[in-house]
Symmetry: C2
Amino acid sequence: MIEGRMETRTAILRAARTLFLERGYAGASVRSVASAAGVDAALPIHYFGTKQALFLEALPSMPDYQPLLEGDPDDLGERFVRYVLEEDGHLRPLYLTLLRASDAGAVGEQLRDLHETTFVAPLESRLAGQDAELRARLAAAVVGGLMYALWVVGDDQLLAKGEDDIIRRYGALLQHLIDDRL
Amino acid sequence: MIEGRMETRTAILRAARTLFLERGYAGASVRSVASAAGVDAALPIHYFGTKQALFLEALPSMPDYQPLLEGDPDDLGERFVRYVLEEDGHLRPLYLTLLRASDAGAVGEQLRDLHETTFVAPLESRLAGQDAELRARLAAAVVGGLMYALWVVGDDQLLAKGEDDIIRRYGALLQHLIDDRL
DNA sequence: AGGCTACATTCAACACTGTTGAATGACCAG
DNA sequence: CTGGTCATTCAACAGTGTTGAATGTAGCCT
């Protein structure tokens, strides 16, 4: 058995992170989280107040795009596309879980916040030319669209066209936005 | 009271369509659908077998993009962007509801199917140049990205930049893909 | 040591969910 | 009038998030 306030809290958080990412928000019950944490069924709510609050606190943080942004600015578009295609399995479940739970108000805010702080803002600071903010936001939409097509819709026939062509074409598209060539 | 097999079925379907679009899949309970239809609580399941089956049957069909595709091919990009921005309120709730319920296998398939038949396929048939299928799929991702940014993330600051600039820039981006100029 | 407080944990219960199967009712053919 | 078909009702099931009271246990003060 687990003892002590902090140990219990973190055990619950760890179990919640795993289960939410594995089964989604609705699919992971509070009781299943509790039992995976080896803890009484009422403790998750007791510690976090609400399933939604537990969900928000349990989610892992977004990967850091900083390394992506720092390289050669002429390859930025390709690097972003490549990153989505070759991602190591951390971003995808987080993205899908957040997406699908985004009708709950607080989750929507969290998603907006992550979008803003981990994507739009750092990208905008790298953009020269006019309408930098607008272009950063549109670039975020373009990248989001790729994740949408691949992960939400599950367009396998797009993937089957070959990653190289996707990287080339979609990367070039993104690069046009980044370079203000439109 | 409602009588007869068909009347009951369609009353349930109508109520389900409204409630699912209004409150989402999880937010609309089977009982609430039944009571909105003025019908016993057990009837929706009795007629459709499962909440998910009712959901799939109740969803309205996707709007028809045919008119969008038929105009001047040089404006296709702008027209698609304009359509998303000025849409009359039918597409958005349908898109969001499907998205958020897409972890259920059958809903995911439905989403993939709609994406394919109402978007990729008709667009592909309009594309000249090489890699038409790839470009059609990427174009679908671009448009999906705009809906994602505006509706899922809720990027109001993007909207605040002015619809005209969005239409111009994002439309031009899409047009590049359509025209095979990359 | 004994009694006390503070607090982590357990338990039982609430209203609600999707789903099921048996009971009820109405209508229509013979 | 009888029997049968079938739409509808009802009660119940296990599971959900959430709550509040009961239980236990650790440590501090006199």
